[in-house]
């Protein structure tokens, strides 16, 4: 379908076009009237953002410099920030979150890409396999995680993974009850739960790669690995870069996995993430201002990362 941006293109047929009268001085009111539909739809979206995204964000920043006690709110400068940084769980929470992000990059980022390549190679049952891969995304995250918690990660030998390990004569694991296994186990569950969406995006990108490139590569004697490295990855570079950024931003906000899989902090705080620490301060420790300060720190870190990433990507392009 052709997309036109010519003003007036959607006017009723038959309406006479006014004779050209030189450059028009269109007033703001006229501009608004001319694009009423667009503005009206825009207002809805903007209002939603203002009310549910921007206002809470600004309010959070303001609250991070305030302290509410006995119903009185006072300005306290950077006190909430120094207090939250002094929280004994502050640095472990960042460490856990960064570790999860790193593992998610290794596993959660690479796996969907290779699954997409694999799916793209299949000649038969493509649609069926896509549905299978996408199915976990349709499961509510809480349900998916409860499945992992009670079925797969049961620390007894009745647990799915432990039963498999036992059948293979391998040592079983305590999964979420082991500080060493907590994060890898959360990444596995998270990857399984979320990869469907990424796989579909990669598949779409893969299908846009001209077949001639692969044919040429094959004629040059390139094997499958060379074709992936020299054709697939360069051709999907933009999508890969975008999803990497989105994935890092999303995984840094790790929350529901520790909340459900590890009942919060996990063994010896091994599952405490920054977002979970915000939740603890805000909803359990009567410290909404401290929670707001930690939220702002996270916002700054993620915004800084995104800006740096986009800048670097732009330079490379």
């Amino acid at each position: 379908m052709a997309i036109t941006t010519v003003p007036g293109a959607t006017r009723k047929p038959g309406r006479p076009t006014p004779p050209y009268a030189g450059p028009q001085r269109t007033s703001l009111g006229r501009k608004v009237r001319d694009n009423l539909t667009g503005h009206a739809f825009l207002i809805g979206a903007v209002l939603c953002f203002v009310v549910f995204s921007w206002y809470p964000m600004i309010r959070g920043i303001v609250m991070s410099f305030q302290r509410t006690r006995r119903g009185e709110t006072t300005w306290v400068g950077w006190d909430n920030y120094s207090r939250i940084i002094a929280d004994p769980s502050f640095w472990p929470a960042w460490q856990n979150t960064l570790y999860f992000t790193l593992l998610a990059l290794v596993l959660g980022y690479a796996v969907p890409f290779f699954v997409a390549i694999l799916l793209n190679e299949f000649r038969h049952a493509k649609g069926y396999l896509r549905i299978l891969v996408y199915l976990p995304v349709m499961l509510p995250p809480a349900s998916a995680l409860f499945l992992f918690k009670f079925y797969a990660y049961d620390p007894s030998e009745a647990g799915l993974f432990n039963a498999i390990l036992k059948a293979l004569h391998l040592p079983t694991s305590q999964w979420m009850q082991s500080p060493e296994m907590t994060m890898p186990a959360m990444v596995v569950a998270s990857t399984w739960m979320n990869m469907g969406g990424a796989v579909l995006i990669y598949l779409a990108a893969l299908q846009n790669i001209p077949g001639e490139l692969y044919e040429a590569a094959e004629l040059d004697g390139a094997g499958i690995w060379r074709r992936i490295v020299n054709v697939t990855i360069p051709q999907t570079r933009l999508i890969l870069a975008l999803l990497a950024m989105l994935q890092i931003v999303a995984t840094m906000q790790l929350f529901i996995e520790p909340l459900i899989l590890a009942n919060g902090a996990g063994t010896e705080d091994s599952a405490t993430s920054v977002a979970y620490l915000i939740y603890q301060h805000g909803f359990f420790q009567n410290d909404l201002n401290g929670a707001a300060a930690l939220g702002v720190i996270m916002l700054v870190v993620l915004a800084g990362f995104s800006a740096a990433y986009l800048r670097l990507s732009a330079k490379q392009d």
């Binding site: 959607t10 006017r11 009723k12 009423l36 539909t37 009206a40 739809f41 207002i43 809805g44 209002l47 939603c48 009310v51 509410t68 006690r69 006995r70 119903g71 009185e72 207090r83 002094a86 929280d87 004994p88 769980s89 049961d154 620390p155 007894s156 009745a158 305590q174 979420m176 009850q177 082991s178 500080p179 590890a262 009942n263 919060g264 902090a265 996990g266 063994t267 010896e268 705080d269 939740y279 603890q280 805000g282 909803f283 359990f284 420790q285 009567n286 410290d287 909404l288």
Partner: protein, 459 residues
């Protein structure tokens, strides 16, 4: 209508609809205290949820009867979940100013409620005229809801912890149900025998997540004669022999005897689910935990009994106590406050009515005869009436709670900044319950440093 016009109309309708929705969200109801008929209206939360059929019917019947007796008062009931106070929801309601006129809270919530600025000083309204049994209410409970000489809530329930045990599993394991463990060494021996039944049964079960681990650590520490914070509340005071003993007892049961089950990181509902399924021999809890096991987790009353909290070598030196009450939202009119107090007096503090209507509760799947709450002071007229009614209508075997009732253990309250401290102590509990090589000294030292940092930052 042509397509572009239709689009414009749809867009305008969308914007108008959104605008109306936002306006509706931001507009507060103005029917504050009186309606056209001159009636006083109050909203009250903690109405039982639909799944709690009998409790909900009782509540609604109480509202109907109260309104019949007081035709000038309208009670609008609000349900806020089975637990009435799920901390995140409660915090959100407080922060958002959406608590009801008369709202439920835990004893440990006083500071948070005061900080939110949502509570009203009700000292001038609470007396024998508004609550006829007020003079009989245990002064210690009133004190918990008092700050700076001002009363902010009316206590309606209290509890203290003891050892809750499954009689069926005791019998199966060859243990004497009338002679439950009195010391932690006896608990360990009994747990070992019960776990020996197999089938995934834990002899003794304990919390270690969601701040409940710290909560129970506190009770276990009190049983050893310890305290979580120093007397001035400025330093942690659990990294000592008493604290080490608490963790050592658990470690011995968990890894020495393997009598606590494989699944750890349990919190409130997890443990009670297992208990309801007959997979837990013993745990520490309040008498009303048996009610939760039955009403929420499909257990049976006759399976459960209770004894005092064990001590290390003899009787426990202390146990953790707590409770709940109703706060009043700021800016209520005097008529609304009086109406709210009248409702609480009727539903919560009158022997034979509301929560003490044992005649009504007797045929229901709701326990009568549990030793708590003990809202009324020892020897008071209200207490005599309440205990007589309780005894006359008991539908649970009171002998199951006789030991707990006959052997009172000194009750201690929760520490300052309880939830933050509990969150830290969860790590010590989870450490000792999930790591066979856990170093108790290191766990307690780390927790002590963290709590001290927290307290320093707070001050």
């Amino acid at each position: 209508m042509s397509v572009p016009q239709y689009r414009k109309a749809a867009a305008l309708a969308l914007v108008a609809g959104l605008g109306f929705s936002l306006t509706a969200c931001s507009t507060k109801s103005d029917d504050k205290d009186t309606n056209a008929g001159g009636k006083v209206t109050i909203t009250v939360d903690c109405q039982p949820v639909g799944a709690q059929k009998e409790l909900l019917k009782n509540w609604n019947d109480d509202v109907a009867e109260f309104q019949r007796q007081n035709p000038d008062i309208i009670i609008k009931s609000v349900s806020v979940g089975e637990q009435c106070n799920n901390p995140p929801d409660f915090t959100a309601r407080l922060a958002g100013g959406t608590v009801t006129d008369v709202f439920y809270g835990y004893m440990t919530d006083l500071q948070q409620v005061l900080d939110s600025g949502q509570a009203m000083d009700i000292s001038q309204y609470v007396n024998k005229d508004t609550i006829p049994t007020w003079d009989s209410v245990d002064p210690a409970l009133k004190e918990v809801f008092t700050d700076g000489g001002k009363l902010y809530a009316v206590p309606v329930k209290n509890y203290s912890m003891g050892l809750v045990y499954n009689k069926v599993l005791f019998q199966q394991a060859g243990l004497d149900v009338n002679n439950p463990p009195k010391t932690w060494a006896e608990v360990r021996a009994a747990a070992k025998k019960i776990a020996g039944l197999g089938n995934g049964i834990a002899g003794y079960s304990e919390y270690s997540a969601g701040n409940t681990g710290g909560w129970h650590f506190t009770s276990l520490l009190y049983s050893q004669g310890g305290q979580v914070l120093s007397a001035d509340g400025k330093k942690a005071d659990f990294n000592n022999a008493a604290g080490k003993q608490v963790l050592q007892n658990l470690k011995d049961m968990r890894y020495g005897d393997n009598s606590m089950g494989a699944r750890q990181l349990l919190q409130w509902g997890d443990l009670l689910t297992n208990a309801g399924a007959g997979k837990v021999g013993m745990f520490i809890g309040a008498p009303d935990s048996t009610q939760a096991i039955v009403s929420q987790f499909q257990g049976k009353f006759q399976d459960w009994a209770m004894s005092p909290l064990p001590g290390q070598d003899g009787p426990a030196k202390g146990t953790l106590g707590g409770g709940e009450g109703y706060f009043f939202k700021k800016d209520l009119s005097p008529e609304q406050v009086k109406a709210g107090l009248k409702w609480i007096a009727y539903q919560k503090l009158t022997p034979g009515k509301g929560q003490f209507d044992y005649v009504r509760a007797k045929p229901q799947n709701y326990p009568v005869g549990l030793p708590q709450p003990l809202l009324f002071a020892n020897g008071s007229e209200a207490q005599k009436q309440e205990l007589e009614l309780r005894k006359a209508n008991a539908n649970v075997d009171t002998a199951n709670f006789a030991l707990f009732e006959a052997t009172p253990v000194p009750i201690k309250g929760e520490p300052r900044n309880a939830q933050a401290v509990y969150a830290v102590l969860d790590a010590a509990m989870s450490g000792v319950l999930t790591n066979p090589n856990a170093n108790i000294d290191a766990l307690l030292k780390t927790a002590e440093e963290k709590v001290n940092q927290l307290l320093a930052a707070e001050s």
